[in-house]
Amino acid sequence: MTEKESLELISKMINKAQNRYHDSGTGPILWGTVISICSLVTYFRILYQFSLPFDIWYLTFIAIVPQIFIAIRENRLNKARGYDDDILDAVWMVFGMSIFLLIFINANIVSTLQPVIEFYKTKSAVSTVPNYNSFATSFFLLLYGIPTIITGTCRKMKPMLYGGVICWICCIVSVFTDITWDMLLTAIAAISAWLIPGILLRVKYTKLQPTNV
């Protein structure tokens, strides 16, 4: 083996190791679908003034169960662990916890502000009082973008990186729109950040799988 061949071998192997990710895309597809369904149903519910017997957003809690199975399965299929894997796992874990904390914080803000808003409505006779929930969406969209951009950058996955940027664009726009449009923006963000990159990962993963002939 010559020196040139040695360097070529090193370069080839490092490339092989870096292209080892065989993400099936199941997780991003699951969350992209769940969040976009919840947002679109909420959008149409507000737009056409109908009610559901349950809160559609409870679907996000139910989706945690398949997510646990997906995580265990993908962990089992991963034959090599990179230095960035631990970091990305921590980032998504922190993201999940932050979402729950934000739900808790928002619920407390709404319960505190609502009586004040109701009082203001009766006293001022103004019908269009700002709704806090309209601003709350911006915080969620801001959070959606953070782990998505980090993952897209670390994995060199441009669709996910662009999806994360779209989340932040939707975040800025949602500051100036009401809750109805915020739901549409949330759906756009979920589809761009997770559903589309997830489908692209799935297509790549399916192509790489050996065919059972």
Binding site: S6, L9, M13, A17, Q18, K79, D86
Partner: protein, 97 residues
């Protein structure tokens, strides 16, 4: 004066294994076998040589009732690899020495 290339690393399969392990935190035996297109027997012998040299740490355990061998680079291995790459570069670009 050129430095002598480390004979433990200057072997095709061992260099391939070390190059893979340098890019990841740890890797299973099956991963190394797939990426190097080697036979289990040959790979096992070469990993053992790297282990004896103190370049690679090998952990054997059971996962879902199957034996699982995991390899990772040691500090000594990383240093040896860096020295090997520097020596290669010196061979390739002798004027920079």
């Amino acid at each position: 004066m050129f430095k002598e290339l480390n004979p433990i690393l200057h072997s095709q399969l061992r260099l391939a294994v070390v190059s893979l392990l340098i890019a990841v935190k740890e890797a299973e035996f099956t991963f190394l076998k797939d990426k190097t297109n080697s036979t289990a027997g040959n790979l096992s012998v070469q990993i053992n040589k790297l282990k004896e040299a103190g370049y690679v740490e090998v952990t054997k355990q059971f996962k879902d009732n199957y034996p699982q061998t995991t390899c990772k680079m040691t500090k000594k291995g990383v240093d040896a690899f860096e020295a090997y790459v520097l020596a290669l570069q010196a061979y390739m670009n002798p004027t920079t020495q």
